[in-house]
Symmetry: C2
């Protein structure tokens, strides 16, 4: 694409009064607005900032992403820069509505998409075929890694249907208050990974004297009957060397049966897509995130499932999610989590900011609502079916919200524990997150990053700002990529054998 | 040793009114008490319980470990079982004294012991010669492991003075509240490992966009000038593959210079001994812990340093440590930490128990003081020189207390960050903890464990209860073992290449 083709502005929704400048635009320039013709710019508009394309009277609302982001505090003319000088926020707290913006997405016409997955005994479908080593406590982490290391490299070459042996180790499992949130969250996370459809076999490995006993982590009644399980402790087995030998032998026994499993063609609705962003930049909210929202909406339209998360990053726009909630009860569940987070952040000496940071403002974000909209954009416009606790299993179809921190490994660990069998991760600065046993598709928000870290990115969404494709086109490309990866195409993080160290259950509460 | 030689009771201090039954003793038996002749037993005394060897009048104090553990609530005769029916606790809170039990340990006669260590540019002495990969954030953990993996197995065979390349990865580093306790604790821990005398070279590895920036972790002014340092981020280096190549090259460059370093004979006072226990049993407080206390006292007598930790496990006996404090200020520092822990435990829905658990009582522990005495026994009788925050650098000689949880990997990580160049770890159930870059000597509290997990234990203290050696003899054996290991003899956890996954900085506070 030549520089002459470069677009001037990005139109995020056909009904918006504003567009986003994709380059620094000078006073007096005439810019081309997709579907609107040319607009003369009446003030300089920095890259990422908003430019009015229709007149707005003082007191009228202004939309971006098809959503009201504030009220004009002065008359706005086409070509005006729209920012803190002429746009204010209405108080969101006075304004909670439940279900007023529900939208049933129409099923696209034509043949329903499918992917090739591993059907488990409980009816769930895996996109990968892993054997997991689940640890009850940090004290068995080193031993778990020793066992997993025996199956790295070429060790599994003859088992073409086995994606790997993953050691899920962590820093906790003892010194917890029994029955506390911290103990519950860890148990739920471990159980979620145990029951995950991408796990065909499990070795549950403990030390022996820990609080969280190995044989209590895995409740066989909640696992697919097809999952092969062995449980052992280092103390009962007689030390590390004996445990490594016994663990390797147990997994070797599983390899044949696990390798005999075959992918079969299944409906796209068997996908549960985890949504996340990390190392965000000024492009995240206008390229990769809304494009991922298009892909998520497509999946949900077909009856599939999507999981939005990262509560601190949604804060300030929660009233938009409550409007999309299927019931007041679901909407109130979200508001309850927001209240919990205000206390949790305050207890840690921080706060959930009510204002965008100076850096966000310089980047063109006028209100906290607008900033959080950029994060929520990953979830498209589907209605919100349920709000889940961290690592809580997803049991319905459609768009879910899971309460997690924004911090990437902790957030994605919760989402995968909840059942995500594929993850899409948008990044502007260059995250390299993997999340075994689920594949993570890395979406670059800009072409510079994509060029600089080509081996670590799966897909470039920078074309949206370069002018080579629309948000919708990028979204369809992401959707196609999701189907291919679900069917077995390896992501860059899988090629790099990443995604074991990113298993990071949220550590909540007291450690004694 | 034949069964006939089995001893009946353990005498923990020559001045104690009670001894501990090392087997179930029946009413009417006559048992042999070391240094006291034979005593006729007037009630059945289960193993681990206390037996009176002198008369005590109601209202008089009873001692164990040479320390008052309570007041007789009835007249006690020699041969009586001493427990909750005839022994009560005085209220410890009304009883804080500072420095009233200070004791300067006499320097043993004869030649001063030495060990062979690596002298660093700042004068500190390493017991090992490691290259560390320090990570600023979980997002660089996988890459750090890939780099370290290149130096495993036979890769370092020609570098006989290089003990290994250790990847110190963790789950945090972003999503923290800047300036919060959580961020401070992580930074202090990473800096402590960077400055550790067992580190000859450092690769500091970040992702690039994290809160805790890689180039801010390591303050060169606090490192020995001899430490070789390279810093890089994955984003600046252009992705994972390039970073692995660059990281491996940087470490390969360090190998020659690090391998050229030589051990030299240094005074025993250059040792900083970390004390810990985990997977404790009924023997811990009467065998391995007091024996380790003898070794710790010997080291302190020679001018060396020892670090007691695990605040929740000393709770209830803190008034004994304040009496050993060198100043009221040091004593009050400890009490302040105890207060902090009461709030922290309550905030997490738990509590620091004021009573021994039913299991502890069944095992013969009458009061919380007595239970905690078993943990404090690891620190011998030396005076308490200072109280440190988690991972705070030790700057003085003598016995220190560091505020850590009891949970093993978190506690030991703080102690090593503080500068411990060797660790002794007592265990009754069978902990397998390693703590690179410092060696950890595993002390079994009983001979059964030692036999069952022979390959995971360095030393057996079960002879104290089997009757083959005294607490003092076991302590001297531990001291000799410390000197040998400090000089390069490998521990069992080093033979097993353990101690990388146990790097677990205390995660405190809010994660956003
Ligand atoms: Ca984010
Ligand atoms: Ca994130
Ligand atoms: Ca070597
Ligand atoms: Ca303990
Ligand atoms: Ca411990």
């Amino acid at each position: 694409m030549s520089a002459a083709d470069a677009i001037d502005v990005i139109r995020l929704d056909g009904g918006d009064e504003v567009v986003v400048a994709s380059r620094d635009i000078r006073l007096g320039e005439t810019v081309s607005v997709p579907g609107r013709g040319r607009v003369e710019v009446r003030s300089s508009v920095p890259r990422g900032h908003k430019l009015a394309i229709t007149p707005v009277s003082a007191g009228d609302t202004v939309s971006k992403y098809g959503v009201v982001i504030g009220v004009a505090s002065a008359d706005i003319k086409p070509g005006d820069h729209v920012h803190i000088h002429n746009l204010t926020m209405t108080d969101p707290e006075s304004d909670y509505e439940f279900g007023t913006a529900r939208r049933t997405l129409p099923v696209p016409e034509g043949r329903r998409p499918t992917f090739d997955g591993y059907r488990r005994a409980d009816g769930k479908v895996g996109t990968r075929n892993y054997i997991g080593i689940l640890t009850s406590v940090n004290c068995s982490a080193g031993t778990a890694k020793m066992i997993a290391d025996q199956f790295r490299g070429s060790a599994l070459d003859e088992y073409t249907h086995v994606d790997g042996v993953v050691a899920l180790t962590h820093g906790s499992g003892c010194g917890l208050v029994s029955g506390s949130d911290g103990a519950d969250v860890l148990t739920r996370t471990l159980r979620g990974y145990a029951a995950h459809p991408n796990m065909a076999g499990l070795l549950v490995l403990g030390l022996g004297c820990e609080m969280l006993q190995a044989d209590r982590i895995v409740d066989p009644t909640t696992l697919p009957e097809s999952t092969l399980i062995e449980t052992m402790t280092i103390q009962e087995t007689g030390g590390i060397r004996k445990t490594v030998r016994a663990g390797v032998a147990a997994i070797e026994k599983m390899l044949g049966p696990v390798n005999d499993l075959q992918r079969e063609s299944v409906d796209v609705s068997e996908l549960t897509l985890g949504l996340n962003c990390g190392g965000s930049d000024g492009y995240s909210g206008i390229t990769a995130n809304p494009a991922l929202g298009v892909a998520s909406d497509l999946l949900v339209a077909y009856g599939g499932t999507s999981i939005l998360a990262e509560t601190p990053e949604v804060f300030g726009a929660e009233q938009l999610l409550t409007r999309r909630a299927v019931s007041p009860e679901v909407g109130r569940k979200l508001l309850k989590r927001i209240e919990w987070w205000k206390e949790y952040a305050a207890a840690g000496g921080g706060s959930l900011d009510n204002n965008p940071s100076p850096g966000n403002k310089a980047g063109g974000l006028t209100t906290i609502l607008e900033k959080s909209l950029g994060a929520i954009a990953k979830s498209g416009s589907a209605e919100l079916v349920d709000v889940l606790a961290y690592a809580e299993p997803v049991t319905a179809r459609g768009l879910h919200f899971m309460d997690t921190p924004g911090y990437d490994p902790v957030s994605v660990t919760g989402i995968v524990a909840g059942g995500a069998n594929i993850v899409c991760f948008t990044t502007g600065r260059g995250s390299v997150l993997g999340c075994k046993p689920s594949p993570s598709i890395k979406l670059a928000t800009n072409s510079d990053l994509y060029a600089r870290m080509r081996e670590d990115m799966d897909l470039n969404c920078g074309g949206i700002v370069d002018g080579s494709e629309s948000v919708d086109e990028a979204g369809r490309r992401i959707f196609d990529c999701v189907l291919e990866v679900a069917s077995g195409r390896r992501t860059v993080s899988e090629e790099l054998d990443l995604g074991q160290d990113e298993f990071q259950p949220w550590q909540l509460g007291t450690v004694t």
